[in-house]
């Protein structure tokens, strides 16, 4: 018996060693040498795309972004995009994608970026919806010297805290939402006296409220703050908050809620008269226009984090995107789709400009970066100019409108749309957003 036990224990030990050896052997081939920069035209351009594929942000943002990337790249590779992107792929080279789930937190994402760049050896990375992840990966992208295009995150801090060489952001940041909302609200309610807010208790919600409040006060000093609610992210139940807001009777209520929280707020607030008694401003409301349809009351001020979706301008690229996305995914394209389109088209435009400058030869990463800086390119959202952050941060205008149910389709449309030029809702180069608002928007050019 004892002998058998000894054998068993030794067998288990042997098994353990074999297991470890197997793991090591499995790892060995992956411990390959670093990639060498290729100058000859490559067979494919591999883009790592990092977006939320699980968790609460997947439904409203992550998956639409993934879908948008898929449909855009598929059609791009076949040359089916309208002008000026009729060439196949990027400079004739087809694009291949590697998708990575953005969930798990900043530490995890830093690890994943390193794996993406060094193990899977992608040519560039497009990604990051969460501001925390953007802030954490930017220095890592610099360390790895890999072109990384942030496509969605909202924090102004990326280029305002320090400049970056390898990091670009092809969408306007959250300042658009707050300043645009303030201006639009005051244009509809010039005698505004009091505001309230219900925002999620994390950086996005806190910053959105602070910027919105500061913008309103900069435009109309003396507006009072009636009730400021900060429920936990994903709380889902807002009965008490809605009661508090109703009881405080503010003239306007601002919310940067998104996803399930936004829908819950609307579903719980509308029957209780929240949308009748106050003017509600939803800075990411565009995402629920199609989804909630009849449950979204009319008259809600709605933003789309820029000129996206129903707030997008009418150009050929936009018409193509709307039709193609609707046909494939049976739902309208919302702003994450536009954001990822901006990133992909920006990359294409930069590469092709660099190719031209390089005499038709495939460019190095430094040449692409040089081409990307201060680039202006066409997108379904209109022209994007990489004007701030020393040419790395895009500025775009924004648009706000008011919801109105279309009884025929059962979806909400946006009416009374007002567009704001980029120079009206973005700080000038080199000025921090918070300072710009505090200075009363010095340097802004609004019609």
């Amino acid at each position: 018996m004892a002998a058998a036990m000894k054998r068993f224990t030794r067998a288990r030990g042997l098994l353990g060693m074999l297991a470890l050896a197997a793991i090591a052997a499995g790892l060995a081939p992956l411990l390959a040498a670093d990639q060498a920069a290729a100058q000859a035209k490559p067979g494919k351009l591999t883009i790592g795309i990092v977006t939320f594929l699980s968790g609460g942000a997947a439904g409203p943002f992550g998956v639409p972004a993934r879908n948008g990337a898929e449909i855009l790249i598929e059609n791009l590779n076949q040359g089916k995009l309208p002008a000026p992107y009729t060439d196949k792929g990027v400079g004739g080279v087809p694009i291949e994608t590697v998708f990575v789930d953005e969930s798990g937190g900043a530490t995890r994402q830093v690890t994943e970026l390193r794996n993406l760049v060094q193990r899977q050896q992608v040519d560039l990375v497009i990604g990051y919806i969460s501001s925390g992840d953007c802030l954490a990966v930017a220095p890592v992208a610099e360390e790895l010297k890999k072109l990384t295009v942030l496509f969605d995150c909202g924090t102004p801090r990326i280029f305002e805290d320090q400049p970056h060489k390898y990091v670009f952001r092809t969408a306007g940041h959250a300042i658009l939402d707050s300043v645009g909302a303030a201006r639009y609200l005051l244009s509809r309610k010039p005698n505004l006296k009091s505001i309230a807010g219900i925002n999620q208790n994390y950086a996005w919600g806190q910053d959105s409220w602070n910027d919105f409040k500061a913008s309103v006060l900069a435009l109309k000093p003396g507006v009072t703050e009636a009730s400021v609610q900060f429920p936990k992210l994903f709380a889902g139940q807002y009965g008490a908050e809605i009661s508090a807001l109703l009881g405080a009777s503010p003239e306007a209520v601002h919310s940067s809620f998104w996803g399930g929280d936004l829908e819950a707020l609307i579903l719980q607030g509308a029957p209780r008269g929240l949308f009748d008694k106050t003017q509600v401003v939803l800075s990411t409301g565009e995402t629920v226009l199609a989804r909630l349809g009849r449950q979204l009351p009319d008259g809600v001020i709605v933003g789309g984090r820029g000129p996206h979706g129903p707030l997008a301008p009418d150009n050929e690229l936009n018409r193509w995107l709307i039709a193609a996305y609707q046909e494939r995914y049976a739902t309208p394209a919302t702003y994450p789709v536009y954001h990822v389109a901006q990133a992909i088209l920006g990359v294409k435009a930069a590469y092709e400009k660099a190719i031209k400058a390089n005499g038709g030869k495939w460019p190095t990463q430094d040449q692409v970066i040089a081409a990307f800086e201060h680039l202006t390119f066409e997108t379904p959202s209109g022209p994007i100019a990489m004007a701030n952050g020393k040419g790395h941060q895009a500025i775009e205008g924004t648009a706000y409108g008011v919801s109105k149910l279309d009884p025929g389709t059962g979806r909400s449309r946006v009416v009374d749309v007002v567009r704001y030029e980029p120079a009206c809702v973005n700080p000038p180069e080199g000025v921090k957003s918070a300072d710009w608002i505090a200075s009363g928007f010095k340097g802004a050019r609004c019609p």
Binding site: L53, G56, S243, G247, E263, L292
Partner: protein, 298 residues
């Protein structure tokens, strides 16, 4: 708006929701001494099942007033399927081991169910708000509320009453109480404890799913709702005392009123209130308000 009245009404509504949501956790711990982290996933399963069944039901054009039965049916279905599957299929193999090991087993089940839910229902949000809107609104204490919220209160009371009746007036209930008090002696007395475990877990799972199904009409069912719920349920059950029905009710009431008060009076501390109350109770009376102090075995 009368602030005190608003706090009371909001607190009660939230407490009712908390009670239905967490009573299953308390039951499972009481009988099986397992802190079921998968409770949140069962809640989410109930919500998803309820939402998708109601959507299908309404689309078929059946009478909308019966959609409430669809919700209950969905919860029952989830409980009857997931409960035995988890208990017989997974938990059973870990009985007799440390409480913490069982907790980790339920944590693994939670991880698995998260992805299973995602695989079945995808990442998109499900909206089944017809039952919520159907009952209309009512004005209480100067504010407008949805009648559905009060229905949840009534339902919580009903669930509490039924559970109390089951435990105190039926034979099966007394058996379960015996098992809660002392498992070894119950076994010695001939009570089929494994069957009690199965019944308790299935019941707890069904109650968790019921919490989810009831909530589905007022929210948008999205991935991730389970994580929120776990912590809240823990807090309620800790405050009230693990394994106690009255404890779950009182715990829900305390947490509900505390949260409601903080939202109305001091919104900045809303994030801490729940953990603060939980820590306070753990410090002052660790077994909870209605829990029984565990006797240490020498």
């Amino acid at each position: 708006m009368n602030v005190v009245a608003a706090i009371a009404v909001d607190g009660t509504i939230y407490a009712a929701w908390l009670f239905v949501m967490s009573v299953g956790l308390s039951l499972i711990y009481g009988v099986m001494r397992i802190l079921n982290i998968a409770h949140g996933s069962l809640y989410a399963l109930g919500a998803y099942a309820g939402a998708s069944l109601v959507i299908a039901y309404v689309n078929h054009g059946y009478p909308p007033y019966l959609s409430y039965l669809v919700l209950f049916g969905a919860a029952l279905l989830v409980g009857l399927i997931a409960g035995p599957l988890i208990e017989r299929g997974v938990l059973r193999w870990a009985y007799g081991r440390d409480e913490i090991v069982l907790l980790l087993v339920t944590y693994s089940v939670f991880l698995i169910l998260e992805d299973v839910t995602k695989l079945i229902w995808g990442v998109n949000a499900y909206n089944a708000s017809q039952p919520y809107a159907l009952l209309g609104r009512v004005s209480v204490a100067g504010l407008v509320y949805s009648v559905y919220d009060f229905m949840v209160v009534g339902f919580a009371v009903l669930v509490g009453a039924i559970l109390w009746w089951v435990f105190n007036r039926t034979h099966a209930g007394r058996l379960i109480l015996a098992v809660i008090h002392d498992q070894e002696v119950s076994l010695a007395m001939g009570i089929n404890v494994p069957r009690m475990y199965l019944a308790a877990f299935t019941g707890g799972a069904a109650l968790a799913a019921l919490g989810g199904a009831l909530t589905a009409p007022m929210i948008s069912v999205v991935p991730g709702i389970s994580v929120e719920v776990i912590v809240l349920a823990f807090a309620v059950v800790v405050v009230g005392g693990l394994g106690s029905l009255e404890g779950a009710a009182l715990g829900a009431l305390i947490v509900g009123l505390a949260r409601s008060a903080s939202v109305h009076l001091l919104p900045q501390i809303e994030l801490f209130v729940i953990y603060g109350v939980m820590a306070l109770v753990l410090v002052l009376r660790p077994q909870g308000l209605f829990g029984r102090a565990e006797v240490r075995r020498i």
